[in-house]
Every structure is written in structure tokens, then in C-alpha cells.
Symmetry: C2
């Protein structure tokens, strides 16, 4: 099998680094998560976890106003996505057309498609980097995109998403909306799940719930979609979410108040950083996420600024790909982290000859 694996942002072990490269939340998990872990019955780790993740799925169902049978939990949203590609887009007949997703989007999508031998076609974003949902109206083998999209951060209007979901369902195809970054400013389509049999949403606790280290993600959709995910999961690994992750994730999901508070702080910092970058002559795409996709002035250039930031201990993400070579993806950190980032940007503006 020939595979071109996904390359995630690096995870440096040096604590002195300002890490703005993998969209982690700068604030710690809820104190209730830590309390739940501390009071876990450690000796029970000798037993297999609940393969159905019952308590976690019930917590998600309660918070999202759906039924627990409409929820699938997995080992990070990446695992949920890998299963979903296998469940909904793989093994279709050759006469069926390609899976559709944007040309600029989460770069794991083409990797999953290759893993499962799924033909795919990348629909170009508009000139302003927004998703043109018109490209997905004729989908012959499903559609997937994130809302907000990554690495652009631009959100798609809900009405446009439900239109595409309806068209997909009419053809017995699935639309997956990856809501990894939804909590930072986009509107969720979870409330439209019941009326849209072809709509599956995918979620992660790695970003808005500050639990990237714990590997928990989930999907919400009508029961037949969840059953298809369960069948793939049970052909792969019966117990993918460990007992501690289930406990901590359930506590996180139920503490909406804490997470609303820290995520509002992230949004507030993002707005401030966008303004300061604009003042330095950078342009920013309109972000609804916990990162900014920003274009430094041409006389600096994204690769050069990325290298300078790294030299000074600040990691951001640079994608050496068509259309986005002039941009950097910068995760929103604490205010002090962003001040360090902005200071280096200002230094670049002041020292690199225009």
C-alpha cells in the first residue's frame, strides 16, 4: 500500500517554546475535569472500558439536545473522521463519482481518501478563500468540509450547509461537517441533524475543551449513520476510548460554563491580534476559529517570518502549498504569548527593508 501520511504540527518538548502551531487551547482543562480524574477509581483500570462510552455519550447528548444513540465517540476526531471515510465514502461502485472537499482545507482529508482508496476532487475556494457551496450541489459520493474551514478560519452560513445536506440525502449520500473549531465563532448544524438524514457532524475535545492530550472526539447524526460508524469501529478496535478519557471527557462536556468563559477569552484575544496585525500591514482572513490565517506584507513574506519566529522561539504553521504560500496559520495563545508573537512581527516590519 502506498501512502502519503498526514504531517501534524510538531510537538516540541522544550517548555520555553511559544507554541502557536497546532491550535491547542492556551487555557487548562476545566477544574471539574481534573477533579474527575483525581477521583477516578484507578484500580478499575485493570478492566476494559465501556466500549459504548455510555456516560460520555449521554453527557454529549444532554448538552447538544440529541439522543445518546445519535452520538458516536472515538479516539480523537481524527479517528472519527478515519472511520467516517471508511463508513460513508469507501467501497462505492466505480461508476460513482468522487468525494468532494475544498482545495484548501484540513490536509488529513486527502490522506484518509488515499487510505481507503476513495477517488476525490478538490473544489477550489473562491478568490476570498470562502467555501463556494454551489460546488457541492451535484455531489455523487458525499462531501466533507470543516465549519469554520481550516486553515482559513472562514465560516459557512448554516442555511447553505443544510441546503447541501438535503441534496446529499436525496442522492443517498453523506455530508460531513467537521465542527472542530465551531465553538470559536461559527454556528453549529447539530440542531438540524434530525431533519437531515445525510448530515453528520464531527467534533473534538482537543480545541475548545482544552483536552488535546486526551484524544476524544465524537460525531452526531441520525441513528443509521452512527450505526455505520460503530460497524467500522468494531471491525477495527472494540475499545478505542480509554476509561480515563471517558471520565474526563464527560466532565468536560458537562462544564459548558467554564469553557464558554475561556473560549470567549480566546475570541477576545483573536480580535485584538487581528487589529494589531492590521496596524502592522498584515492582512487576516475573517476568522471564526481559534487561529488566524494571516498574510505578512510581501517584503517580509510568510516563509521568512515563519523562520524568524522559530528562531525566536515562537512556532506557527506554514503550508508550502499553492494559493496559501503567502500565509501563516497562527493559533491564538494567551495574551502574553500573542504579545511575544506581535513583537516579533513588529520587529520584522521595522528591520526588513521595504
Amino acid at each position: 500500500m502506498s501512502l502519503a501520511p498526514y504531517i501534524p504540527g510538531e510537538q516540541p518538548r522544550d517548555a520555553g517554546i511559544v507554541k502557536l502551531n497546532t491550535n491547542e487551547n492556551p487555557y487548562p482543562p476545566s477544574p471539574k475535569v481534573i477533579e474527575a480524574l483525581k477521583s477516578a477509581d484507578w484500580e478499575r483500570l485493570r478492566l476494559y472500558p465501556d466500549p459504548a462510552c455510555t456516560a460520555l455519550r449521554e453527557a454529549i447528548a444532554k448538552q447538544r439536545h440529541v439522543d445518546a444513540v445519535q452520538v458516536f465517540a472515538g479516539n480523537g476526531s481524527d479517528e472519527v473522521l478515519a472511520f467516517a471515510f471508511g463508513a460513508f465514502f469507501a467501497g462505492r461502485s466505480d461508476s460513482c463519482g468522487p468525494l468532494l472537499f475544498p482545495d484548501i482545507t484540513y490536509s488529513f482529508y486527502p490522506v484518509y481518501a488515499n487510505l481507503w482508496d476513495i477517488p476525490f476532487k478538490e473544489a477550489p475556494l473562491r478568490g476570498d478563500f470562502s467555501i463556494d457551496t454551489g460546488d457541492y450541489r451535484e455531489a455523487e459520493n458525499g462531501v466533507i468540509f470543516p465549519n469554520p474551514n481550516a486553515p482559513t478560519g472562514i465560516a459557512v452560513p448554516v442555511r447553505e450547509i443544510t441546503d447541501i445536506a438535503g441534496l446529499c440525502a436525496a442522492r443517498n449520500k453523506v455530508l460531513i461537517v467537521d465542527e472542530a473549531y465551531q465553538a470559536f465563532g461559527a454556528e453549529s448544524v447539530v440542531p438540524f441533524i434530525n431533519e437531515n438524514p445525510g448530515l453528520l457532524t464531527v467534533h473534538t475535545l482537543s480545541k475548545s475543551a482544552s483536552l488535546a492530550g486526551l484524544r476524544v472526539g465524537f460525531a452526531i447524526g441520525r441513528r443509521h449513520l452512527i450505526e455505520a460508524l460503530e460497524r467500522i469501529r468494531d471491525s477495527f478496535n472494540s475499545y478505542t476510548v480509554d476509561a480515563l478519557a471517558q471520565i474526563a471527557a464527560a466532565a468536560a462536556v458537562l462544564d459548558g460554563e467554564y469553557y464558554d468563559e475561556i473560549n470567549k477569552k480566546v475570541i477576545k484575544t483573536r480580535i485584538r491580534v487581528e487589529a494589531e496585525l492590521a496596524a502592522l500591514g498584515f492582512s487576516c482572513l475573517p476568522s471564526s476559529a481559534n487561529f488566524i490565517f494571516t498574510k505578512p506584507p510581501p517584503y517580509i513574506g510568510a516563509p521568512r517570518l515563519s523562520a524568524l519566529l522559530r528562531e525566536k522561539g515562537v512556532l506557527v504553521r506554514y503550508f508550502d502549498k499553492p494559493r496559501v504560500r503567502e500565509y501563516l496559520r497562527v493559533s491564538i495563545g494567551r495574551d502574553c504569548d500573542m504579545d511575544r508573537f506581535l513583537e516579533i512581527c513588529a520587529y520584522a516590519v521595522n528591520t526588513i527593508n521595504n
Copy 2:
């Protein structure tokens, strides 16, 4: 995609049940594991875990006398096996023969083969339920079996395994030896990894390390085999082992002393139970595992005893499959659990008419 998923043993939530159905260790994880979890920096859960599982792989390498680059860590040995089927047995040309494994073995193997569209052939165990390694000498697309085998518990001599590994390597094929139960009485082939380029061993912390709830498994093999697993992993999910699982697993791996002690207790109990079952007229296959595959007297019958045990709160595993319908797989629990099991067996012998 049409799939027939694996069906794991049930995980009852009632604490009063005597659970002898999924081969969990009856003793708790090492106190050092619990200490490592308690002193973890919980706030760091906001960050992604080390995708390379460096500290864990180094701990395994140290304990197994191999190099850390010869170790792959995954989310339970089931995930490692799923990746291994994809890496070594899938996508071969149609002219290549079937993957070989025993007809009576871990029932996830045919499920993985179906998941990856791998043709397979089941080689029958001998009349005494031992593996006939002669069946694997002509393997055209690799071989996999557990040592000791499950659910029989019977071990394969190491010399026979290295013979097959040599034949596989000569054909550029892979032999996977699943050592899930090795610590309970079989000899490991890990010391033969370096001289056998086609040999991969797979291990789990769910049985001998009392950490089924944590989902950690690993594989050991030459570097090119490990790289193939990494490529599949990175096409599926970049971070499969969460931060707490990495910490706890490393602590477990390094506390061989504790685990030797509890696993010796398991073996001692197994030997006692085998003797007591024999006295009741049950036959037992010679087990090198933490379970017994036992045949009740014909006038009782395995399905009837399984139902009686369940009625009295003791769960064991019954496989309604050819050749093994007369057997029950009974995990070795604490002595008091086994006494309860034996008491019900004696009751069956005394009350069911011969």
C-alpha cells in the same frame, strides 16, 4: 462496505458479577502506575501528546533489550493489529496467495482481513488443538497466530516459530506473533527479532499489565516493519495513544517486579483450578495463558454450564463455533472468584443427571 464486526466479551456494569469472560487481570495495576498518574501534570492535557510515544517506547526498549526504533506503540494491541493487517497483508497483488492463520484463534483476525479486503485461509489446528506450524511453511502472503494461541491457551515452541519466520522472510512476507498472553507461560520470540527481518511481535498491556482500561499495545520488529506501521498510523490518526496512557504504560513496563509477582499468582491459581476441574471430570487443554479452555463432562455440556454460571453471576466465554462448542474459556480470577466458579461446576456435576 459489508462488515461482520468482532464481538467482544460483554462488560457488565454490575460490580457484583464475577467476570471471567475477557481475560482481564484480577489484580490491580502496579502502585507505581497509580503514582505516575496521580503526579501527572493534568494541565498539560491541553497539549497534544507526544505522537511518537518516545518515553513509553524507550521504557519498552529497555525492558525488552531492543532499540526504541524497533518499537511501535498503539491504542491497544487491537489497533496495532489493525494497522499491521493494513501494513503487511493488504493491497497485495491478486496473484498472491491468502494470509494464513489457525481455524481456531483470536476471532478478530478474520474481521481485520475483511476490513482490509485481504483473502485468508484458516489452517486447522491438530486434533489436540495445537498449532501445526507445518501448515505455514508455504505462506504466500504472511502468517499470524498468537503464542500462546487463544482461546486454547496452547503455546508454540520458539524453534518452530523462528523456522516459519525464516521461511516468511525468504519470501519477503511477514510473520506476526501475537504475544498477548505470553507472560503467563510461553516463551517470547522478541530475542529473535534482530535476526528475523520478517518477524513482528505484538503485545498488550491489557492482560499481564492489568491495564485493559487504558488501551495500550505495542509491536516489536526490525526498523522497516515499524516504519510501515508508522505510515499506516499517520494516514489514520496522528496521535493514537493519549498522554495519560503513555505515562501510565511507561510506569507499568518498568515495574516488571510487581507484575512478575501478580502474574505468578495467576499461574498458581490456574494450576490449582486445572487440578480441581480434572477432579470434577472436566478436561482442560494445557494452558500457558491467563485462562483455561475447558470441556465440561458431556452430560452437562458447555452451553448449559455457561447459562448456569451466568444465572449465578459468573460470566465465562462460550464460542458457538465448529470444534469448540464443547468448551468454555474461563479467565483466571482471584482465588475467591475461582472458588465461586468451581463451586458452581461442582453443583452442576452433582445435580445434573449423568
